[in-house]
Symmetry: C2
Subunit: 375 residues, 2 copies
Amino acid sequence: MSPERPGPVAAVPVGTASGTYPVLVGNGLRARIPRFLGEYAPGYRYAVISDERVAELYGRSTVDACRRAGLKADLYSFPEGEASKTRDSWSRLTDSLLADGLGRDGVVVAVGGGVTGDLAGFVAATYLRGIPAVQVPTSLVAMIDASVGGKTGVDVPSGKNLVGAFHPPRVVIADPETVATLPRRERAQGLAEALKHGAVLDRPYFERLTDGAEALLAGEPDATYAAVLRSVELKARVVSEDEREEGHRQVLNFGHTLGHALEAASDYELGHGSAVAAGMVLEARLGERLGITEPGTGGFLRQALSPFGLGEVPKRAWDMDAVLRYLVSDKKVRSGRPRYVLLERLGVIHREGGWSHEVPDQDVREVLQEALHEG
Amino acid sequence: MSPERPGPVAAVPVGTASGTYPVLVGNGLRARIPRFLGEYAPGYRYAVISDERVAELYGRSTVDACRRAGLKADLYSFPEGEASKTRDSWSRLTDSLLADGLGRDGVVVAVGGGVTGDLAGFVAATYLRGIPAVQVPTSLVAMIDASVGGKTGVDVPSGKNLVGAFHPPRVVIADPETVATLPRRERAQGLAEALKHGAVLDRPYFERLTDGAEALLAGEPDATYAAVLRSVELKARVVSEDEREEGHRQVLNFGHTLGHALEAASDYELGHGSAVAAGMVLEARLGERLGITEPGTGGFLRQALSPFGLGEVPKRAWDMDAVLRYLVSDKKVRSGRPRYVLLERLGVIHREGGWSHEVPDQDVREVLQEALHEG
């Protein structure tokens, strides 16, 4: 990677049932959005959707740049935060677009973090039964994870992301420089998903991430570019094989079964990355108990994650029954039973009998018991 | 067609981006639903969705039959009528399914008319980002039109069907006998779409329908079977070629541009079939004005539709500006302009320059003026 501008630009192809779209990764790419829209998603009018904070940082300037380039574009915003990822916000955004007469030849441009990508993506997926979407992730977690793979959706009272659709974008435009404006804590949340990619698919990548923890946590653009690119490559490979998560894509759920349940049981006070990282450690321990995962993997993960401030279940008054209840309301439940992705060892998934597994309740309970009450 | 039971059963294949599904048409098929579910949509649990009236007629007995056949099945119902086809009903049904723990291995079975198919189909399309759906249309319009082609959705304040998704079912089970339980007026509404199929694609079929008007309006099973089968064949052919309505499928919108606007401007007091039938006559007249449609076609259509009680714009205090406003909020708007499907003559679509066309506002206004104030 060169520190000069313009830096390298990579285009990673992602295959879907209906064709292939590129994830463009490059420092400074945000300046070229209008050109990419014209090239990958020609439309009569562009609806740029951002939360109120990102609207000020990048949304407004994207609209202005589009207009200067001769494109019709308007900005739509919603209040910042996961609490906005609801059917209500989706309805309000949809109704605004309808009121403005956006037609089937309109395009939704999601500029923001994971919440924006999911929410605006779901607006696009269901607007007039589906119009094109472009994803412009501005947070690390959105670049590394959420913007690749076409998942869109909203949260409902029963849980996160339980309502949604697969709606692959026409193009993803990821500019790692925007990550520098995030708080350090938020970068750590994004790095949890990168570490997961390494843990399930690419041990050398996992090690590069832990070796470069400080530069990544600081949002240093070249280090961030390298991590975003590798994570996008890994995720694109898996998603291209299995868009609908019927097979290989399930490996990306490592850490997510227990992670989601902890996140929900904490009333979402626990960040998604923190929850997933803690879930990875616990699911590694679960695999060890079952004789599937190499002994010591849970402990190793916990140590490796600690420079990122990740991997521990934070002390709080956990309600074990709530955690167990959320396990059963998870999307990954099959035949009424939660499913777990298990490691054989770091970088290698246990595939015998499928990509995910049922495990005895008692083992789950004991791993949780130990974690929720340790320390 | 034979009057004995069991009568003929046809399986019409419909092609989609993700494979092919059959529309099964046969008198008495409703008794074999559990077998078809096992064959075409194996699942861990079935959520049968009906409006409250159809729940009593067919929904409850479908659930009972499933249970007797060893399938897990539950009934979910909502208040009858188009007023239920909302995001609120969709949310409530979704939340009920989530509360009952329906997983990704669940299947939605929509038993009912067009509202149920669209609403339950949209629940399935967005539940955990999409689970399989089975359509069991019980009204004529649902059999003939709505259940073929994978369109799902709900109405919003700006208009009908403006929010939704393409979600092809695993199988459609159409039993024309159920049409006999409908009021005659409702059968006429369904026949409007059948007549449209004939008008745009198959003049001999149009003539068979008008010749057999009395038997069809009476819901006679063999006549109904023949009409359902031919309409399904015609629609399946078009939809298989062009699932997303980017080309040929647009011809099915004949009568719908003006029809939808009239329907909306009447506050939906005008039935969909009545609106479409009146729209066909008006769009034929529009084509005549433009020198595209064979002279006399509008008058011929109006006469041919009259035994069905269709084809006239009913007298009421029409608000011309409202009609024109709804024209521009239509889904088919492109570059901010409404689009019209135009006939060359009965059974033949005008294809020069595309499947649908912009026309001068003044011509639309004059055709409407004449129709809204005639008589």
